[in-house]
């Protein structure tokens, strides 16, 4: 982890309020792993005061570049859209604990909703490079808001898509449910929806696969010092004790069984 300056290579509008930022920053790009994140200082002023955390979308190690996919939700991200090619940008990273890909994994599934799909693209990229088969279950409010389609297709992933506008009864995990009796996954990874996380967790109990989720929480430092971004999690599988864990340090990736919300 370090604080370093990167150079903006490209800041491209993708769709709706989603943008893709490509940064040349070899020192981070060569180390960062799927599920980890970087803290971005969006300008060199005191307003906005805090950095903004973004999980890795893709990395191009040889070129020393990484990509962050971001959604415009407030002042900080709105300012990010004005960043021009060639501008220097202050980053801290890589931060946090990323996804675990089991050593002998053959097949994994990623389940993402909306902008929450972003870290799963990085994971699918790494997995497919290692020859792991990746099944993608993607969901969004509307079909054109599905994230990462192009990238997942390029990686040769098997795709299952869901849009609320087209079918608000089923969930994208229903496809997973159908496949599961016959297909064995070495890990299922979810991000972007509490509902989907709960579904994935329930299926993991039934079929006994490892399942991980990437969580979000407002952050100040991103490297563990401020203890601001804690979430309440179960400490053990028996759920005998809860504790606070930092999303930035012990996470952002947790096992789904840790998440209190999946039992509701």
């Amino acid at each position: 982890m370090q604080q370093t300056a990167g150079t903006i290579v490209w800041n491209e509008h993708q769709m709706e309020d989603v943008w893709l930022l490509t940064i040349e920053v070899p020192r981070i790009a060569q180390r960062i792993k799927p599920g980890q994140f970087v803290q971005v200082k969006v300008n060199n002023l005191l307003d906005p005061f805090l950095r903004r955390p973004f999980s890795l979308y893709r990395t191009f190690r040889d070129e020393g570049k990484l990509q962050l996919l971001y959604k415009v939700v407030g002042k900080g991200t709105r300012l990010m859209t004005t960043l021009k090619e060639g501008t220097s940008i202050d980053l801290i990273g890589p931060l946090g604990r990323g996804f675990t890909l089991p050593h002998h994994a053959e097949k994994i599934a990623v389940v993402g909703r909306g902008i929450g799909t972003a870290p799963l693209v990085a994971l699918a990229d790494e997995a497919s490079n290692k020859g792991v088969e990746v099944y993608c279950f993607l969901s969004a409010e509307e079909k054109h808001k599905l994230v990462g389609l192009k990238e997942f297709k390029e990686m040769g992933c098997e795709l299952y898509l869901h849009a609320d506008t087209e079918d608000n009864v089923k969930m994208v995990t229903d496809y997973l449910k159908k496949l599961l009796p016959a297909t064995q996954f070495d890990g299922v990874y979810v991000c972007g929806s509490k509902r989907l996380t709960r579904e994935v967790h329930n299926l993991s109990k039934k079929y006994g696969f490892m399942s991980q989720v990437s969580l979000e929480q407002i952050m100040a430092c991103g490297h563990g010092d401020c203890h601001g971004c804690v979430v309440e999690l179960y400490q053990d599988k028996e759920r005998s004790k809860k504790c606070y864990k930092r999303v930035c340090k012990e996470g952002p990736v947790f096992e789904t069984w840790e998440v209190v919300g999946v039992y509701a």
Partner: protein, 264 residues
């Protein structure tokens, strides 16, 4: 009439070390603005820097409906201004304050500018020359490099003399040395001054000794720029020999030399 205007930046480029000239498409400012008046510039869309920056009108081009601001990068606000790109629209308030005045009976006048204080004198010289006055311009700068606008004055037809602190160009010494000589050589009807406080004080002293009326443009930290906050006051003599505080933004920024009381 004060107006809140949005103006497009037509040009924003350095003209000397630390000095930038920003030209804005702003019809009302161009048609209503007078030499010596200023605008309050919102330099950032954020809460920091919080206050607007007061910048005097440097050039007023009625035909092209543009005004220019000449500013020196001294802090965060002006640095941000210098980084704002051509084509961007910025928010301004103006024209503000009371500018320089002249009458038909004034035939020969001198303009004394120090550093960035030279900026409003360009618009003033332009108007005075249009009115067929004989205009002497005395410019002071730290070094030759930091001398601004000499060419502008010459091409307008003003008689220009220069002093530099380090002697790298023109007279080695203060611009007020040049004024002393000019007062000796030429019968002046009015002296206009804008620059650092020690220079302004000296101009007032010299003109008073020679019984020449003088107008000085003052600088003060401003809150609102329109007279509401009463933050930017200067001491002005009252008839009974005491003083009152007048607002630099509204009653000024141009004052008669003899009315302002300087604290030593």
């Amino acid at each position: 009439m004060i107006k809140s205007v949005k103006a497009e930046i037509v040009e924003n480029k350095p003209i000397a070390p630390e000095f930038f000239r920003m030209t804005l498409k702003a019809e009302t400012l161009a048609s209503e603005g007078l030499p010596g008046q200023f605008v309050m510039v919102k330099v950032s869309p954020n809460l920091e820097p919080f206050l607007r920056r007061p910048i005097s009108l440097h050039q007023i081009n009625r035909e092209e409906a543009t005004v220019s601001l000449l500013y020196q990068v001294v802090g965060k606000g002006t640095r941000l201004m210098s980084e704002t790109q051509k084509g961007k629209v910025i928010e301004l308030l103006g024209p503000l304050g009371k500018g320089f005045t002249w009458s038909d009976s004034d035939r020969v006048v001198a303009l004394v500018g120090g550093g960035c204080g030279t900026a409003p004198l360009v618009a003033l010289a332009h108007s005075l020359l249009e009115d067929k006055k004989e205009v002497h311009v005395l410019l002071g700068a730290q070094t030759k490099e930091k001398l601004v606008c000499e060419e502008d004055f010459i091409s307008m037809g003003a008689k220009v003399k220069v002093a530099t602190d380090d002697g790298s160009y023109g007279h080695h010494g203060f611009v007020t040395d040049l004024l002393k000589n000019l007062i000796h050589d030429v019968a002046l009807d009015m002296v206009y001054s804008c620059g650092p406080l020690p220079m302004t004080k000296e101009v007032v002293k010299l003109t008073q000794e020679a019984s020449i009326p003088c107008q000085i443009s003052l600088e003060e930290r401003m809150g609102c720029g329109i007279g509401a906050c009463i933050g930017c006051v200067c001491k002005v003599r009252t008839k009974d020999g005491a003083f009152t505080y007048k607002k630099v933004c509204k009653d000024g920024p141009v004052f008669k030399g003899e009315e302002v009381m300087f604290d030593d």
